[in-house]
Symmetry: C2
Subunit: 445 residues, 2 copies
Amino acid sequence: MSAAAQAKRLRGDDLEVVVLDRGRHTSYSACGIPYWVGGEVDGPDALVARSPEEHRRRGLDLRLRTEAVGLDLAAGVVHARDLDAGTDLRFGYDHLLHATGAVPVRPPVPGIDAAGVFGVQVLDDGQAVIDHLAGLPDGARGVVVGAGYIGVEMAEALVRHGLRVTVVDKAPEPMTTLDPDMGAMVHREMECLGIDVRTGTGLLGVETGADGAVRAVVTEDGTLPADVVVLGLGVRPATGLAREAGLPLGDAGGVRTDLRMAVPGHEGVWAAGDCVEVFDRVSQSWLHVPLGTHANKQGRVAGTNLGGGYATFPGVVRTAISKVCGLEIGRTGLTERDARAAGFRYVVGRIESTTTAGYMPAARSLHVKVLAEVGSGRLLGAQVVGFEGSAKRIDVFATALWNRMTVDEMTGMDLSYAPPFSPVWDAVLIAARKTADLLQPPGGG
Amino acid sequence: MSAAAQAKRLRGDDLEVVVLDRGRHTSYSACGIPYWVGGEVDGPDALVARSPEEHRRRGLDLRLRTEAVGLDLAAGVVHARDLDAGTDLRFGYDHLLHATGAVPVRPPVPGIDAAGVFGVQVLDDGQAVIDHLAGLPDGARGVVVGAGYIGVEMAEALVRHGLRVTVVDKAPEPMTTLDPDMGAMVHREMECLGIDVRTGTGLLGVETGADGAVRAVVTEDGTLPADVVVLGLGVRPATGLAREAGLPLGDAGGVRTDLRMAVPGHEGVWAAGDCVEVFDRVSQSWLHVPLGTHANKQGRVAGTNLGGGYATFPGVVRTAISKVCGLEIGRTGLTERDARAAGFRYVVGRIESTTTAGYMPAARSLHVKVLAEVGSGRLLGAQVVGFEGSAKRIDVFATALWNRMTVDEMTGMDLSYAPPFSPVWDAVLIAARKTADLLQPPGGG
């Protein structure tokens, strides 16, 4: 919708824009679903940034409940199906934007499709979970499979509903976008919230009752009774159409594009959003990073170019942020695992500091971990885990990373200081200093 | 103390470090005084990061209540006075660090030295204000002269004490480190707190009672009854000794140093802290910016160099942050006034956004103003005024400014997004985009 709106904005009546979507909603925040399920946000209307009617008033020919089922690139035609009427449709085009998004990973284990097992991706998924929870008795049990962003957020949402919650994950610690030493802090916070965290535990299957509904989750660590199961195992790019049509896919499974979000070798074909791969500026590799912020930027870029303007998407540095209960989590750049995979030699600086001057009543603990390249001294990545007011500091690291700063340069930066906001040396500076000193001791010149 | 500690850390027994200070305390947070006076923080001990005893245990020869009264640079001697014993002392040196700090501005108006009129700079000032407030009756009145950082913070502290508070300032809006359009928001928040804000109003004098204590403040806008007066008119570098000794002073009134904090033309003489000028990387001019964060960094740099190592202070971008009641205030780089003074042609982008996704219950309003240079598109400065969670975003602008980014480049940055932390486009990106579009409309390629 971001691309469609941008193209229409630039070209007006000169461009007819048809949008096909198999769902019922437009421009909604999928990231907000856990907060809706947890009762913090009214939904689903509050999560919709722009309704179908608003898009139509701006001149978009929006076809909901209409699924694209085939692309004929040679003829310039999209084949589609009206899901309600059950009829077939065809749409000719001059420009095609492929923005099919991603689909939640559902492991092929017995019972995974039972009633009461939910992925969380579209608004209808949120409503389905809420409806299911409403029918559960007091003391009901929830099992979340996967301790990534969505898994952890959904676990907290279920706790808010009064459920007894277990989270199961194969990895040694939750939040594998962090290194395990930082993930261990998330683990402890989840336990403080009363969540039973089973790490290093694979999913084997789902048991159902006589009514066909979920009754338990079978794991490598035993069988867990469950009245509701939420899958938080991540998503993969939805590329069925692209594959059939012969669009280029990368090693991470997404559609490849150039900087303008054009699909190379296919004039007039563009792609954006969770279905594409993004270039990571730090490791210089292509990845699948399905985040709303990238999808939005890419949509705007694709729409600008498709509308005859010029814009590029400059890649990512893998910045992400999250929250579990009171604990805030930020990361950017490379973790140790990422850095090793990319072939970097690095040093690691770890510090603990406070969100405000230590003497202020609001002072909260935060931990920062920084990776820098041996030799160049260049920042490679940072992870922040701490309480209220901690995690947005990751944006300073992201900006430094974007600009290829060394950790030594970072120590001189003019960051803001006042007692309600940071110690006189902000945690970012302390962490950069600690890491720089590992590369070259002070006074070592 | 930062320099002394760093030099001692590097050189150990090889370097004898004598520290002279006319006060009774070391390494304390002057910025914390308003929070102590306001009762948010216990004091004064909590504000002391390292006590005299701790410094002495680390091998520093610390002489408190000992005031340097003359520098004989040719002989390598500091003349001093033991304020308690009333005796004269002399200290020979190989290296001299000039770190005399700054003194509060006291306008030469009648009655300014009356009892009950306070500057706020050292811990003893804080104690004096607290003692004075303890003796005041219910319904007492406070007048704060100057609506900068300290003035605004002290006004809030007096309100917390139950005083009826008036703030008087010559400028058209409070917080002249912001442009007036942003300062007007601070003005409104101060009024919400019950503070009577008299802008555009000069101070004419202080009236005293028969007991010699303050009774009223005389302003261009009439006479204001006052039981306590706090001066928040800023500080100027304390350079009496430096001037007499012939050290080079700049146009902003501070001691000039090179990048290593050495005083040019005076081998073995160093200077750091609120007594020096700093180089502003954006306007490429020398300024007096008396902030603890710069003083700390400079101290470390001077101590490293004095101790035989190598370090440089890279200058500033004028980042600052503050808070009045619930309103957070951040600024970095140039305001419109600064930009005009530096000779820049610029465009101004203004936006209003939210601290979290708009649908989250914690969403609060924030305003961002961005200046970018015409032609180059380079970021020149940013101002942020908003509620909880707003102001630390200024550090992202400060980092971008440090790296000479254009606002167009900024729009592509990979900043963190999750509903509890920002809209899908963080306010920083929205503001950069708005400003970039003023320089070149989208699709204009």
